[in-house]
């Protein structure tokens, strides 16, 4: 195995990339280094220092994660193999031979810990291309070096090193790591970027694109209007990899309008004339770059028989075959014949992805004796001091207080101590910090600064007086909303963040992955609550801005109305740029103002409104109160403070805030605010569905064809389109089709519903839909007739004392004469439980009868809760509650 040899002087020093770009004072830089190099692991410090220090990677599963050859080489020469690593060289005293032996036995020991499943996989060049974009835009390249087209690291000196990943990881082990980086690196310096599985795979393919494994043939699969040529912009490469032969079946199912380009080498045993036979609609064959066969694809024709010949010398010949899976009844066959070679499909044995031998990965066979020796050495060399997850006794060094500058780790001479290859500057910082390192007397501001540097938050976020995005990395930050300027691509600054954001919101973003700025390409990584959770409180303590005196609101309704007016298009038209509760009205989609009061501290909101440019020098948002003067003298008497307060009181209603005037209805997502929303048409409950979304964030679907309640769900309401809607949200409960009232002759009779062919149903059962009317909150009361009975069906969204919403349903009847008994089907589902004569469980739904009526249950598919009704002449009422 070829590994990187010597390292240029100076590059071997450990890189803590936040240090390079920050403006920390040297003593604090020293403290950062002490923690990042985990000095406390040997020089028993206080528990708090140990807790803050960066732990070494967990090794119990390293055998499945890391190629054993890499592991051995890295142990032998960490700074040569991965310049910039914080892992020290612990074997400088040993000779070359001894080092090699130590590395071997340590590797055997580490691989003896568990059954290892390491095995390299072939890279997918198509995914790698996509991964390259993701690596540079999603945030990886904020800490790790960006790479040019050849894969050369462009900013290696100031970046957290990765080393030769294709030598280290397999595709599987790298994707496993990226999915859960904190499983093996608990200190969170490598954050979880919360990328989806596909993106993680693409990035892994990019980072491992130089992986070499043996294979017969490389292929790239294209899809689209392939007959226009593979260069067409209507054609997209879909995937790439290795395949054993030219048989289509080897690629799995491939769709129509696909093209495959095969690349590889063919070993010619006997020189001479070779003939090639292709059955295909179109494609081409090149050998050693020379075209042997070419037939342009035609989508309106079938398969052709093609033939070509070439004189080939013995040995490896480069072959490229392009096949278009186009036209009528597409088919593909590739055969060849030559001297002492009968006509046949090209066998795998003649093919290779390279004309050079690629060794097969051989898993290391663990030697028990070597492993046992390695275990001892692991303790003796002090490996166990840092890699403490293996529970091997540590080999402690001198106590912190007894350390001397210029000696041991801090000296230049080799010795039994670990060597970090520190630069003189780094040593200087550490020496400065050493006297207080165990119990550093840091101010809250310094504690913030130290964390922001250790976790390199400042690689993405500016913080006044500390640092921010390095100029050479600025262009890496991109976004999907160019109209927003820099704010649409750069992560927000952290200056004054504690004075700006509510601590609950900081916690959401920092610890729970909440994201507001969907237009930023960079993700907000997660570093782990144990590692950065303290920032939530510290930001609030440290960041201070002057206090604005907020005026008293005497008439809350007037204030909210003024806020409503200002946000809408007839006021300040905030929604022209800002999203409002997820709905975009203008061309730009600036930050959603529906979450303003949830996120921001009111004081900061006041300061920002008065002068946005104070917080973002390049902000696009204009000032509506320049110099404290309102631009809208007709609202609230032109009182600036009252106007800003009015925005706040209005926005405080959050999702419930009345939809501002001019809010776009273009969005397919229909959201509910302060009043009920309806939509109708084709839906999961039929073509005559009526969807109703209530402000308590519970929703229902009513079938106006059968006049029955058909679905309940919680949360977001629905996606709507022309004449159709589809429920969103969660916790959906569906009821089967069927009319609500029926006179069952016997309890074993079927409950009627409209089949495909009973065309006059349900009118033939006496039903007639009569529409609905809306109350002041626009909640509908459905109206229909069942024979002589006029029915009103009304749902009210209410909540219990815990704030949990549910439906109260009121059915009002009016009849000209007493009715013969009739059953009302209140609910139906798989699992029905009768808790009492008025309480029923239907799957996850709890149904209560709150009027005098009593229910019965029926088994069957579905099971049902029926309420027998004997309706008197005149008016009567049935009330129910649906909670789930």
């Amino acid at each position: 195995m070829v590994l990187i040899g010597s390292v240029p002087v100076g590059l071997a020093a450990p890189v803590v990339s936040g240090l390079a770009s920050s403006q920390l004072d040297p003593e604090l830089k020293g403290q950062v280094l002490i923690e990042e190099l985990n000095c406390a692991a040997c020089h028993s410090g206080t528990p708090s220092l140990a807790a803050q220090s960066k732990k070494a990677p967990r090794l119990s599963e390293v055998g499945s994660r890391v190629n054993p050859a890499y592991l051995e080489a890295f142990i032998r020469d960490p700074h040569g193999i991965k310049p910039g690593t914080t892992m020290p060289d612990v074997m400088t005293q040993s000779g070359k031979q001894e080092k090699a032996e130590l590395a071997t036995s340590l590797t055997h020991f580490l691989l003896s810990l568990k059954k290892n499943e390491f095995s390299p996989q072939a890279p997918d060049a198509v995914a790698a291309g996509q991964g390259k974009l993701l690596f540079h835009s999603r945030g990886c390249a904020a800490c790790h070096s960006p790479r040019d087209d050849k894969g050369t690291e462009l900013l290696a000196k100031t970046s957290v090193p990765l080393g030769a990943l294709d030598k280290k990881y397999s595709f599987k082990s790298l994707t496993d790591f990226l999915r859960q980086p904190h499983a093996s690196r608990p200190s969170g310096r490598m954050p979880d970027l919360r990328l989806n599985g596909h993106d993680i795979e693409r990035i892994a393919h990019f980072l491992l694109q130089d992986t070499r494994v043996p294979g017969s043939l490389g292929y790239t699969l294209y899809r689209g209007q392939v007959w226009e040529g593979l260069e067409s912009d209507k054609v997209k490469a879909e995937r790439a990899g290795y395949v054993k032969d030219f048989a289509l079946a080897s690629l799995g199912n491939i769709g129509h309008h696909t093209a495959i380009q095969y690349d590889g080498w063919m070993n010619i045993a006997n020189p001479g004339r070779h003939t090639f036979y292709l059955t295909m609609n179109g494609g081409s064959l090149l050998i050693d770059g020379k075209q042997i066969i070419r037939q342009d694809p035609r989508d309106r024709r079938g398969v052709m028989q093609l033939e070509g010949a070439a004189d080939l010398a013995a040995g490896w010949r480069k072959i490229r075959l392009t096949y278009f899976h186009t036209g009528h009844a597409p088919k593909f066959a590739f055969e060849m014949e030559g001297p002492k070679l009968a006509r046949q499909p090209v066998p795998s044995s003649m093919l290779s992805i390279s004309n050079e031998a690629i060794p097969v990965f051989e898993p290391l066979k663990v030697d028990a004796e070597l492993a046992a020796r390695g275990r001892e050495q692991f303790g003796q060399l002090g490996c166990a001091n840092c890699h403490d997850d293996l529970r091997i006794p540590a080999n402690p060094g001198p106590a912190f207080a007894k350390l001397d500058a210029g000696r041991g780790c801090l000296g230049e001479a080799p010795g039994r101590w670990p060597h970090f290859d520190l630069t003189a500057e780094q040593r200087g910082w550490i020496v400065k910090a050493m006297p207080h390192a165990e119990q550093p007397q840091l101010t809250d501001k310094q504690r913030i600064d130290k964390t922001l540097v250790s976790f390199n938050c400042i690689a993405c976020h500016e913080r006044t007086g500390l640092g921010g995005i390095a100029p050479e990395r600025n262009a890496l930050f991109t976004g999907t909303q160019p109209a927003l300027g820099d704010q649409g691509r750069l992560p927000p600054p952290l200056s004054h963040v504690g004075a700006k954001l509510k601590p609950e919101w900081i916690a959401e973003v920092l610890l729970h992955g909440k994201r507001q700025r969907e237009y930023l390409d960079a993700s907000m990584p997660q570093f782990g609550e144990a590692n950065v959770g303290h920032l939530v409180e510290l930001f609030g303590k440290v960041d201070e801005l002057e206090t604005v005196v907020v005026p008293k609101v005497s008439n809350m309704k007037e204030s909210k109305d003024a806020g409503y007016e200002m946000i809408g298009t007839t006021g300040l038209s905030c929604i022209a740029c800002h999203e409002f509760n997820g709905q975009k009205s203008g061309e730009v989609a600036a930050l959603d103002i529906g979450h303003v009061t949830e996120r921001l501290k009111k004081n900061w909101f006041n300061l920002y409104m008065r002068q946005p440019s104070r917080f973002h020098p390049t902000v696009i948002m204009p000032s509506y109160w320049p110099g404290g003067q309102s631009t809208r003298p007709n609202i609230l008497g032109g009182d600036s403070a009252q106007q800003i307060e009015a925005l706040w009181t209005y926005l405080e209603d959050g999702m419930r805030a009345k939809k501002p005037a001019g809010l776009s209805r273009q969005s397919n997502e229909l959201r509910v605010s302060d009043v009920t929303e309806l939509c109708r048409g084709r839906s999961p409950v039929g073509y005559r569905g009526i969807g109703v979304g209530y402000p308590e964030r519970i929703n229902l679907a009513f079938d106006s064809g059968e006049m029955a309640l058909r679905q309940l769900w919680k949360g977001e309401f629905a996606n709507v389109d022309m004449g159709s809607f589809h429920p969103r949200g969660t916790d959906s409960i569906s009821f089967p089709p069927g009319i609500p009232f029926h006179r069952l002759e016997a309890l074993e009779d079927n409950w009627p519903y409209k089949g495909k062919t009973n065309h006059p149903f349900p009118q033939d059962h006496g039903y007639q839909f009569r529409g609905y009317h809306l109350d002041a909150q626009r909640r509908p009361t459905f109206l229909f007739h069942y024979g002589a009975i006029a029915v009103e069906d009304y749902f009210e969204d209410v909540h219990d004392k815990d704030g949990k919403p549910y439906f109260k349903r009121t059915l009002r009847f009016e009849t000209p004469a007493e009715q013969t008994p009739v059953y009302f089907r209140a609910a139906a589902g798989k699992k029905i439980t009768r808790q009492s004569e008025r309480n029923f469980g239907i799957d996850t739904l709890q149904l209560r009868v709150t009027s005098e009526h009593k229910g019965i249950t029926r088994d069957g598919d579905p099971g049902e809760v029926l309420i027998p009704l004997t309706l008197p002449k005149g008016r009567s009422t049935l009330t129910l509650e649906y909670q789930w």
Binding site: T569, S585, G586, E587, G662, L663, S664, R665, Q666, N668, E677, L678, C679, R680, G681, R682, G686, Y687, R688, I690, S704, G705, V720, D721, M722, G723, S724, K756, H759, P760, Q763, Q768, F769, R770, G771, Y772, H773, L774, D775, A776, R778, P780, L783
Partner: protein
């Protein structure tokens, strides 16, 4: 996502997969510049927040324009008729299925959406609808393409509704392919069968109710059909619902294919032939909504005529009707081209402007207009164009009336009139070529004394044929050519005297 249910004038898409947006939509008439001298098109701006995919229009008593949309919203627009338009949009109602017609009566707006007829009103006076009274939802509605167009209230207060076939080919659900009448108290009365993919529904000046039909099986081209009680209008897929109409009997015979309307109407006594046929592409490809011009001259010289929008070609057509031997027939004329989107419906404003609105589904059905949706107005600027005003049939020829006096010398020449006739194959396959061409000889052309009309006598009028007029040679007294030289008269009956 583009809704796939509505594809006017049938699924040609499904039939010819190679049809796409670049398809040749037929030559333009090439008259837009000339038309604009009399009938300029005015854009009514739409705010970006409003998804204005027009389905139906109504003018409210307070002078606002009501627009029902495919999204199921109803907007009230103030200032739409101002010059220039200063529209203010107010959302009156929302949450409906696709709305294809609106009609105001007695303090409520009746909307005809795909699933029902709804009387919508604002009872608490806050300007927003709160009562949605369903008059009926008793027709079948369970498959794609089962849309519903409706009329204004007739004098008895009924709304007439035309119900498209299931998937535009078959009739799987109750009364698909029928026209029904919905009474003010919500009774649904089936009127006639035999529709395929109907468009707008409305009355002519005499109060007879008509529906637009689209080209397709059993329909050689788009047409205007009379909704005669008990009639069968040509497409037999909807025969299966007669058993659900106690007062009607299933027609004794079904139409034969590969025949002619003129032959089959004698076999199937319920069959009523289309009153006005619109030769395909020359005169529209998917005619949609239409309105009767009763502006009392405010829209120029075409009072009491029908104005029809076309979805595919983004044009407006004109039609006239007359009753001959008890059967409706008439002519159609080009009127205005070059609108911005596919046209779904039209409406006259009180000041005599023609409002046209619609949308473009660029992925499914080719449309000449390019805007995703538009609201436009055709204003008459007071200058009378030189046009064929109307053609009426006589025993031995046609009386052609013009909007301005003709040059009588030219008009008296028989060779000033190029007239051909043709008809369509009446068959269950899709559309029809023009067949059975004849070229009648003009025997005499007699201009009236005032020069406003010419009696053109022919050696033969052919029943069941479209009579295709080309009057390119005719000029006005002041030497102007016709703005549109073409007109097409559908002869169902020939008067006896």
């Amino acid at each position: 996502m583009v809704n796939s249910r509505f594809i006017p004038a049938l699924l040609a898409v499904a039939i010819s997969p190679f049809l796409h947006a670049e398809e040749d939509l037929g030559a333009m008439w090439g008259t837009a510049a000339e038309e604009a001298k009399y009938y300029p098109i005015v854009n009514i701006p739409i705010p970006s927040s409003v998804p204005m995919r027009t389905g139906g229009f109504e003018v409210l008593p307070d002078g606002r324009l009501a627009v029902g949309t495919r999204r199921g919203d109803i907007y009230f627009i103030k200032g739409a008729f101002d010059t220039p338009p200063k529209p203010e949009y107010h959302l009156f109602a929302s949450g409906q299925d696709e709305i294809f017609a609106l009609s105001w009566k007695d303090g409520a707006l009746t909307s005809i959406s795909w699933g029902e007829v709804t009387r919508i009103s604002d009872t608490d006076g806050d300007g927003i609808a709160d009562n949605y009274d369903t008059l009926t939802n008793n027709w079948g509605y369970a498959e794609g393409h089962e849309f519903a167009f409706g009329s204004k209230h007739d004098p008895e207060g009924n709304i007439w509704v035309a119900l498209g076939l299931s998937g535009s080919y078959e009739s799987h659900n109750l009364f698909r392919g029928w026209a029904v009448k919905v009474t003010p108290d919500g009774k649904m009365i089936p009127v006639c069968s035999g529709l395929r993919s109907p468009g707008g529904v409305g009355a002519n000046a005499e109060g007879a109710m008509f529906v637009v039909e689209s080209q397709g099986p059993w329909n050689g081209c788009c047409s205007l059909k009379h909704l005669k009680q008990g009639a069968f209008l040509g497409h037999p897929a909807s025969y299966n619902w007669y058993p659900y109409v106690p007062e009607m009997k299933t027609p004794a015979v079904s139409p034969n294919g590969d025949s002619r309307m003129g032959v089959e109407k004698k076999r199937v006594k319920e069959l009523v032939p289309p009153a006005v046929r619109f030769p395909y592409i020359k005169m529209g490809r998917s005619i949609s909504g239409f309105q009767l011009n009763q502006t009392g001259g405010k829209f120029g010289p075409f009072d009491n005529q029908l104005f029809l929008g076309d979805y595919t070609l983004s044009i407006i057509l004109r039609a006239t009707t007359e009753r001959i031997n008890g059967v409706w027939q008439g002519a159609c004329y080009p009127f205005r081209e070059g609108l911005a989107s596919g046209i779904m419906n039209v409406e006259f404003s009180p000041t005599g402007q023609l409002i046209a609105g619609g949308f473009t589904t660029n992925t499914q059905w080719p449309v000449r207009g390019t805007e995703p949706f538009a609201l436009q107005r055709i204003d008459w600027n007071g200058v009378v164009p030189f046009e064929i005003k109307e053609i009426n049939i006589r025993k031995d020829g046609f009386l052609i009336t013009f909007t301005k006096p003709v040059d009588k010398q030219v008009a008296a020449r028989t060779d000033a009139y190029q007239i051909t006739t043709y008809t369509h194959v009446y068959d269950g396959s899709y559309g029809s070529p023009e067949v059975d061409q004849t070229t009648p000889r003009v025997t005499k052309a007699e201009p009236s004394a005032d020069g406003l009309s010419v009696m053109v006598r022919l050696d033969k009028i052919t029943e069941d044929h479209i009579h295709d007029f080309d009057l390119a040679k005719i000029t006005s007294r002041d030497g102007l050519p016709l703005v549109h030289k073409k007109a097409y008269y559908t002869v169902n009956e020939i008067p006896e005297d």
